[in-house]
């Protein structure tokens, strides 16, 4: 097989197109010896490829992605933890036997739901689909959920409630190019998906980029120099802010009345719920001046009449205990203005993980079957049972959403054996100290990864799996467009695909139905399983994707797909969007009396998710080697913290120790930590496992913390640099 392929980036949901070609010097070469630390063995060369989403652009995460393929720290054999706590290689046969025995023993003793699965939004559609099937039919458990619960669940729940369907962007991303106004709600694309920024240029040129973020993020800074407006609400008050903007729309007669009449239900109740949120009152809640609230409403309305207005939401407003209601408030605002489904305007949410869209459609969720079907819907169960060739009664009922699933680890009636696929919960889940305790109380933990991630380190058994450039499959990008991932390189000998693993285990566990390890065969089955569902892929096949056709779901057989949703109405039975009145919950309005601060967690350009991958890329690590606490100079001064000092950030759940960076970009009542780092720098030690009652989304953005200058004058060591990472000299010396 020739090495090299047209594929997409392994990281975020923008899924930038890239071409991988064999590196002239390194193709097929053995890993470089330790004696030559400067020479990094990169078997493939990455180049940007022209595609509507990225137009040839890549960020430095994408540019450096190939350096992980032959990284020295790569796990290339199944690794079993010995009684001494050290992982030792074993054969695949041994590994499969161990798993089979563990699953059977535990289920016999504690019941089927004592085995659980934790999936990831980075898995291909094929893997995500098969993982759901594997859990229900081979493991016979209801206990499956995934890290997308920490990511897209609130926006998804709000989208389903309002529109009857959840596709992150219901329009191609290039539609944004001509917009006059774009309202970005808690989304920092300049760091999280830099090539996306191209699509904001039109709005910036028109002075219409409006960014809501408590921090003057890189994206918020684009609003300077006439680019638009930056609204800096105090954390936890986004919902009130959106109600304030909507209030102005209603009271200043900016509502698109014809649109409301023709396309929505629930308008009057929403108007009544907005009455109490006049701009000056909202100013008192949010800290955003009333003038800016009015200005935002007017610009959105004007934009809808000019080149178009878009409202885009991100994790900043969604990762809250009232995240679903906040996303609903954003949707209500967009409906009042008549944006969704109109030719030049719209509402969308920016999906985060690489396959955060496809990964939330095909059965990885506790309450879901393929095609975005509900597992409680008898018709859906019957359909999927038919495709799987099994009796419907074999499909378990709904399981537990991610946070509850993790809370149940090792508990009576909880999960005692867990499979983790494409997730690093020790770093990325809320309240990680509790998560680690849960993992350590398990009888058996299996982690599939390509590195000894912090979660893999906890595992009894680590299984080496393929990386993106070593596998075939499909992903669904943030626009709902299905794209092809292609193999450019043969994986190392001991590495297997998760499809293979699930197929083998299914056989050993005497699972009904069939489990193929061939991606295209699995996709063919996914097509059938999704047919007639909300996320219908039945008209899509590998051949058309390989011809370069743009395939947006729903794509029923015989159709040409759906680049733009809602042009003919919404997905509810009556074709109308449902407007649901929402109001800030008492729980969401938090007191920060005394000297506590609101902790918001977020991302850096150089790192992706838990950093399990990007912290192993020397260039990225050199640029951002450690977590830094962003703190306002005034807030720092009153705590005796100087720029570069080590600071402790504490609350009742844990403590983080890291360097402080003084910056005017955060509000004085807020501190910011990136969540990409493990150990003592792990921001999620401080976050709370409280969740949104509708979506199960945890609260990531308003944890109450106290910041102090670190007592010890001795600089604590940063976390241990992952084995096999070759650091540039200056970083080695610094750490």
């Amino acid at each position: 097989m020739p090495n090299g392929a047209d594929t997409h980036c392994p990281y975020c949901a923008l899924q930038c197109a890239m071409t991988l070609t064999p590196a002239a010097s390194a193709a097929g070469a053995a890993p470089a010896p330790e004696a030559e630390p400067a020479k990094v063995d990169v078997p493939l060369e990455v180049s940007g490829r022209d595609f509507p989403t990225n137009r040839g652009g890549l960020c430095r995460k994408g540019w450096t992605s190939a350096s992980l393929l032959r990284h020295n720290g790569r796990v290339t054999e199944p690794m079993l933890k010995g009684s001494d706590g050290v992982h030792q290689p074993i054969s695949w046969d041994q590994a499969l036997m161990l798993i089979t025995t563990a699953v059977k023993d535990i289920q016999q003793q504690y019941g089927n739901d004592a085995v659980g699965v934790f999936g990831g939004g980075g898995l291909t559609n094929e893997k995500a689909y098969l993982l759901g099937k594997f859990a229900r039919l081979a493991l016979r458990t209801s206990r499956i959920d995934y890290n997308g619960r920490f990511c897209m669940s609130s926006a998804a729940a709000a989208g389903n409630r309002a529109f009857g369907v959840d596709r992150g962007l219901p329009f191609p991303v290039t539609d944004l190019d001509t917009a006059s106004v774009i309202l970005m709600l808690g989304s920092n694309v300049a760091e999280t998906m830099p090539p996306f920024v191209q699509h904001l240029q039109g709005a910036r040129d028109a002075g219409g980029l409006i960014v809501v973020d408590p921090r003057r993020s890189a994206t918020a800074a684009f609003t300077g120099d006439g680019g638009g407006l930056h609204l800096q609400p105090t954390p936890g008050t986004d919902l009130a802010l959106l109600l304030g903007i909507s209030h102005v729309v209603v009271h200043e007669g900016l509502v698109d009345a014809d649109y409301i009449e023709a396309n929505t239900s629930g308008y009057a109740a929403v108007v009544r719920s907005l009455s109490a949120f006049w701009p000056e009152r909202v100013q008192s809640i949010t800290g955003v001046p009333a003038t800016l609230i009015r200005e935002t409403a007017r610009r959105l309305a004007q934009g809808a009449r000019d080149g178009g207005s878009y409202i885009l939401s991100g994790r900043g407003v969604e990762q809250h205990v009232d995240g679903t209601d906040t996303a609903t408030a954003a949707i209500n605002l967009s409906l009042l203005l008549g944006l969704p489904g109109s030719a030049r305007s719209g509402y969308g949410t920016l999906t985060g993980q690489g396959n955060g869209q496809g990964g939330r459609e095909h059965g990885q969720k506790a309450d879901q079957l393929p095609g975005y079907r509900k597992i409680t819907d008898p018709a859906a169960r019957a359909h999927v049972a038919g495709v799987w060739g099994i009796d419907e009664s074999l499909i378990p009922g709904p399981g537990l959403p991610a946070v509850e699933l993790l809370k149940s680890l090792g508990k009576p009636d909880g999960v005692r054996c867990l499979f983790v696929h494409g997730a690093n919960v020790v770093v990325s889940a809320p309240d990680t100290n509790a998560v680690i305790q849960g993992l350590r109380s398990l009888d058996f933990l299996v982690v599939c990864d390509f590195f000894m991630s912090e979660t893999a380190t906890e595992a009894d058994l680590v299984l080496p799996v393929t990386q993106w450039a070593e596998e075939e499959g499909t992903l669904t990008n943030l626009e709902g467009r299905v794209i092809r991932r292609r193999r450019a390189l043969t994986p190392p000998p001991g590495v297997r695909s998760e499809l293979w693993l699930m197929a083998r285990l299914a056989e050993l566990l005497d699972a009904p139905s069939t489990f193929s390890d061939d991606p295209e065969t699995v996709f063919e089955e996914l097509r059938l399983a999704s047919a007639g569902g909300l996320a219908d892929y039945s008209g899509i096949d590998y051949a058309m994707l390989d011809r370069g056709e743009a395939a947006y779901w729903p794509y029923p057989v015989g159709s040409t797909g759906t680049p733009r949703l809602f042009t003919e109405g919404f997905a509810h039975a009556d074709g109308r969007a449902v407007m649901v009145p929402v109001t800030p919950s008492k729980r969401a309005v938090r007191s920060f009396a005394d000297d506590s601060l609101a902790l918001a967690t977020g991302r850096l350009l150089e790192h992706y998710q838990s950093g399990a991958q990007t912290r192993r890329v020397s260039e990225l690590l050199a640029s951002q080697p450690q977590a830094r606490l962003l703190i306002h100079p005034g807030t720092a001064a009153s705590r005796g913290i100087a720029d570069g000092d080590y600071a402790t950030v504490t609350n009742e759940r844990g403590e983080v120790l890291c360097r402080a960076e003084l910056s005017n970009s955060v509000r004085p009542d807020t501190v910011f930590l990136p969540f990409h780092f493990p150990g003592q720098e792990n921001a999620n030690r401080l976050t709370e496992a409280a969740t949104d009652p509708i979506s199960g989304m945890p609260e990531f953005k308003t944890s109450r913390v106290w910041a102090r200058k670190a007592v010890s004058t001795q600089e604590p060591a940063s976390y241990t640099v992952p084995a096999g990472t070759r650091l540039p000299l200056h970083v080695k010396e610094a750490s």
Partner: protein, 520 residues
């Protein structure tokens, strides 16, 4: 057993109570009857002036819908008054002579405007019959009167320098009327602001087209307009202020006569304890403008300094939310469980943010002390309690003024004029009792132009030009020195400009600079 709750009054606070009780109504836990005197269900009274100047619609002010509530199982009686309450039988008697039983009764009767004692006005507070061209701007009909005056660009005289009076005058002026505010004292808003902010505020109002008549004592109204309508407000110095419409904005008084009539203890408002219960009457509660939280316990510290009803809607809504939970628990789990609920937290002094387009004003707490006013600063600084401190910024030429009164770094009072971001931040800090930064000037700079992207183009060679690929200016300069002469070549050599492309101009600049230097 299902409890029957009767809510007397259907204003914004009652609407919130009803809404919060809906889940209990749906499950049959409580039966709910709400009685409203006006023909309309609750609407946002706070915005009646906005309606009066044509900035919103009556539809948008609505806060409840009678037919939808009825569909949910709530009984709604509109356009009827409660005449009296028979506590012995737990009945209310309505103006149509029907009677209704209650297990629990909630007074949400609100307040009524104060009608000043002026010749030409009927002084009877319960049945004011105002001459044509005089309005207290309280309900939708009053708003319609103002609306037509504003639409015709008439002269509107506002009597009273309170928040609502200023808001009305400014909005009317901005929308085309000629507005005059008549107030006593040297500046409006009385003792809630200080002289500095008062002076700046007056100038700002004047700049907004409002005529300000201060230190004025009005004595009567002249009604020699068409059909005996208002023509002028008469002052005690013998002068008169001519106008076509007089808006009375002289404050409100709680509507307590119904409670008083059935023997409940009242002061300014209906007296209630920290559970919003009327004194010695377990079946009755009061919330909103008509309620005065002051418990019977003489030793209660919170109540020692309690003032009358705050007259703001925010505290009323919090009371409504709290009482809804209390009543639901009471109906479900009984008295002991309900009383075990945490009492309603004490309200902080109210924050006022002027609802206005042209002027930004926020005020809260006590603002009387000046930086060198030892007596006021030391007041209350006994037994280890810190003394008050004042930070102040005055720039009358540009209409800006801020005063922060703190104790132990926490705001006890604030007033900010003409500085929207500072005002917004201070209000949040006040509401949360958060400590201010030691350097108070940080808060004053929020409205400064330097807050936005200072020094975006520095000459530091280590500055990052391309954020997406993480390329410094020095690396780009090196690549240019090595022969790259176009953005494309630089991108190829360094990856700069290969992400979002936003730095292409910057790269071009570096290339041009290099070759200019070479040519020179």
């Amino acid at each position: 057993m299902s409890e029957r709750i009767v809510v007397v009054g259907f204003g914004p606070v009652a609407a919130r109570l009803v809404e919060e009780l809906l889940p209990a109504v749906r499950t049959g836990l409580v039966q709910l009857l709400v009685v409203g005197q006006e023909a309309e269900a609750a609407y946002n009274r706070v915005m009646v002036a906005e309606l009066g100047v044509g900035r919103t619609t009556a539809e948008a002010l609505a806060m409840a819908d009678a037919s939808e509530l009825e569909a949910e199982g709530v009984e709604v009686r509109l356009g009827v008054k409660v005449k009296r309450i028979d506590r012995a039988r737990q009945n209310i008697v309505l103006s149509d002579d029907s009677t209704e039983h209650y297990d629990r009764l909630v007074f949400a009767t609100g307040s009524r405007p104060v009608i000043p004692n002026l010749t030409g006005l009927n002084p009877d507070p319960s049945r004011p019959v105002l001459p044509a061209g005089v309005t207290a701007l309280r309900d939708l009909r009053d708003a319609a009167v103002l609306r037509s005056a504003v639409a015709e660009g008439k002269r509107v005289v506002v009597l009273g320098g309170g928040v609502l009076g200023l808001e009305t005058a400014l909005a009317a002026s901005e929308e085309g009327a000629q507005a005059t505010v008549v107030h006593n004292g040297p500046f409006p808003l009385g003792r809630s602001i200080d002289r500095g902010s008062g002076s700046v505020l007056i100038n700002s109002l004047r700049a907004g087209g409002v005529r300000m008549a201060g230190n004025a004592r009005s004595t009567g109204v002249e009604t020699s307009g068409p059909g005996g309508s208002f023509s002028a407000l008469l002052l005690d110095d013998g002068s008169a202020i001519d106008g076509d419409l007089l808006v009375l904005s002289c404050g409100v008084r709680p509507r307590i006569e119904l409670a008083e009539g059935c023997g409940l203890p009242v002061a300014t408002g209906i007296l209630v304890d920290h559970h919003l219960r009327t004194y010695h009457e377990p079946h009755m509660f009061a919330i909103g403008d008509c309620a005065e939280v002051r418990c019977p316990d003489a030793a209660c510290v919170d109540c020692r300094t309690a003032a009358g009803p705050p007259g703001l809607v925010g505290p009323g809504w919090r009371q409504a939310e709290w009482l809804a939970e209390y009543l639901a628990v009471l109906a479900r789990d009984g008295q002991a469980a309900a009383d075990a609920l945490e009492a309603l937290p004490k309200e902080k002094p109210g924050v006022v943010v002027l609802k206005a387009r042209g002027i930004n004003l926020a005020v809260a707490g006590d603002n009387q002390a000046d930086p060198w006013d030892e007596e006021l600063l030391e007041a209350g600084a006994a037994s280890g309690r810190a003394r008050r401190q004042i930070s102040q910024w005055a720039d009358p030429e540009h209409g800006r003024y801020v005063k922060m009164t703190t104790r132990g770094g926490v705001l006890e009072g604030l007033v900010a004029v003409g500085m929207p971001r500072t005002a917004a931040e201070l209000v949040v800090l006040f509401e949360r009792s958060s400590e201010l930064p030691a350097d108070r000037s940080l808060l004053l700079r929020l409205d400064g132009p330097d807050q936005l992207d200072a020094g975006a183009t520095s000459n530091d060679p280590q500055r990052t030009v391309c954020r997406c690929a993480g390329v410094s200016a020095a690396s780009i300069e090196d690549s240019v020195a090595d022969g790259c002469s176009t953005v494309g070549e630089v991108s190829k050599a360094t990856r700069a400009g290969t992400g979002c492309g936003g730095c292409h101009e910057d790269i071009k600049g570096i290339i041009e600079k290099h070759f200019q230097a070479a040519a020179a």
